[in-house]
Symmetry: C2
Subunit: 348 residues, 2 copies
């Protein structure tokens, strides 16, 4: 166990070049202000030594002395495993990484954050937020109290997904669920559907609220537009309820529920969309095997990732030019599960 060789510092460079440490720093940062000047030959000498030694400034000391670090933190709320939900988050990360690369930032994943009561916590006795210049918050449910705290501390952050105010507006880049759902409802209405049901997951997350709001806003001309909480894992009962009340098109918040519903329908000899149209409201959050392309929409995950970095950098350097809240449009997926209600209506 040899003691590691001490790292080359600016002092070393300074000694070799016969100048002071301050001069090395000035040359390194290419300061050409009127305030401080370095003679070209001195500069060259220093640069030559730097090149010879392969010196690179210690980013840690640098950040301590100055203000920024060029590190973007990523905080993932969802429990890391099972890795299924990871596939859902992967596209966000791809987008984040792409944009981080473009702006020359490194990415810090806060994997050290401890899990308390089944949830990752940002704030704990040894939180390391300050390693990063700011932080991207990723996850379906984000603790409101922690958002409050972030706002209070003035720590730069941005949430992926719309969030309600938490002691001030929350910067976010979300998907415009409301209008995506509304557009799907309009399509269904145009095709003649009059009895619509919204099948919710029973959570109170903003993303759920938005979808439901879009549904209600667009379904005003329907004969019937009700909401139903889907008991997980009991597609049969749900199907009974839907058929009993004459629903012809069901809007399913949770992708897996839609798949289960379709299977249940097929088992009973019901056709989709012949007897029941099924519309999904977002990408699967866990991998669900299915050969069917459901009618619904796609969450622009990569783009959300990219733009969250963009917004964050704005928050960090305080250039509050643009609004720090963005909703991106979702692309509709044509699919094969939304038809006309004819057969379903005949059935009544």
């Amino acid at each position: 166990m040899t003691t590691p060789p001490r790292r080359v510092t600016q002092r070393d460079i300074a000694r070799m070049a016969g100048v002071s440490q301050a001069t090395v720093s000035l040359v390194l940062n290419n300061r050409t202000d009127a305030e401080v000047r370095i003679a070209p030959e001195t500069r060259d000498r220093v640069l030559r030594v730097i090149a010879e030694t392969g010196y690179a400034a210690d980013p840690v000391a640098r950040r301590l002395a100055s203000r920024f670090n060029r590190i973007i933190g990523v905080f993932t709320y969802e429990p890391a495993f099972p890795s299924g939900s990871r596939d859902f988050f992967h596209p966000f990360l791809l987008g984040i990484e792409e944009y981080a690369e473009r702006v020359g930032c490194d990415l810090l994943l806060f994997t050290s954050a401890p899990v308390v009561d089944g949830r990752r916590r940002i704030f704990h006795h040894d939180n390391r937020l300050r390693l990063a210049d700011g932080c991207i918050l990723l996850g379906r449910e984000i603790d409101g109290a922690e958002l409050h705290r972030l706002n209070r501390d003035g720590y730069p952050y941005v949430a992926v997904g719309r969030r309600d105010d938490a002691g001030g507006p929350v910067p976010y880049v979300g998907a415009d669920y409301a209008s995506a759902v509304a557009r799907l409802v309009e399509v269904a209405l145009r095709r003649g559907h009059r009895r619509l049901t919204y099948l919710s997951m029973g959570t109170t997350a903003e993303s759920s609220e938005d979808r439901l709001r879009g549904f209600r806003a667009a379904a005003t001309t329907a004969e019937s537009a009700r909401q139903l909480s889907a008991p997980a894992g009991d597609a049969g009962t749900t199907l009974d309820t839907l058929m009993a009340d004459g629903t012809t098109a069901v809007f399913v918040e949770n992708f897996a529920t839609a798949v289960a519903l379709e299977s249940a329908a097929r088992r009973r000899g019901l056709a989709v969309p012949g007897d029941l149209s099924i519309v999904t409201l977002g990408d699967p959050t866990v991998p669900v095997p299915t050969d069917i392309t459901f009618t619904g929409f796609r969450i622009p995950r990569e783009e959300m990732g990219r733009q969250s970095v963009e917004v964050l950098t704005g928050v960090i350097d305080g250039s509050t030019g643009g609004l720090q809240q963005r909703l991106l449009p979702c692309e509709l997926v044509e699919g094969s599960t939304l038809g006309t209600p004819d057969r379903a209506v005949d059935r009544r």
Copy 2:
């Protein structure tokens, strides 16, 4: 644009608790050595103030003063996009993340590293390696010169995948391709195959060498064991060559090539494995659609990720207890593309 509120420091805590900054640090680090003692009531007082303010030590200052940072760097060599190859690397990252979480480390992705001549470079005028305590190197081809440099600088690192020495042994966690390929060859021999061909990708990466070595070592009892470099995108020609020389089983390094070969065979009315057995030697590095389960093996990617973190932490803290080079076994995949050579032999 208000000036951001100055961060709470140990000095602030010290003032509030009526002690010195050093005392705060000592309490924080729970130092109970015989060297330095703090009275229980003092300790409690400090802890109470810390709890009230929600203070957490600045990790940057901490790392500057002490030695470690609890940050594991991840350097991805492959060009980040197209995202296809990302899917190949995702499992490694999952494993890395899982183990990093377990040991309480954050993960730093060096996305800021610039691309020079089509390759990411570790060393550049402003490399930020020192942000991390050590670094995991991920990528099919890793520049030998950079490994040399890492060794020379004594920077802790570990490569994912076996690497030849580079100015000293390279710590790595690799897959045991040689023995996986050898086992597949033995299976083929047991099933009666005597004319085997190894279809290489024409690269000189260690992973290719290892596979070929395993092939040669196990194929000694074969009638014919030759090697062929597959010209990309010309499966037809390759197939001709194979059939012309009586090959009954072909071992294909690149998964996509195997898929193309099978398609070409089917187009000609040849059966796989009836007329030609095809064995793949690893997971697809780019997504290739296919319904067939090829006989071959699986690279233990998640486990490699996990163990690379384990090895790295060993390298970092210098506890050079275990060897820093590990080869993990690959799991064979039964598949449906390796049969007996009967029909193929009859054809001759």
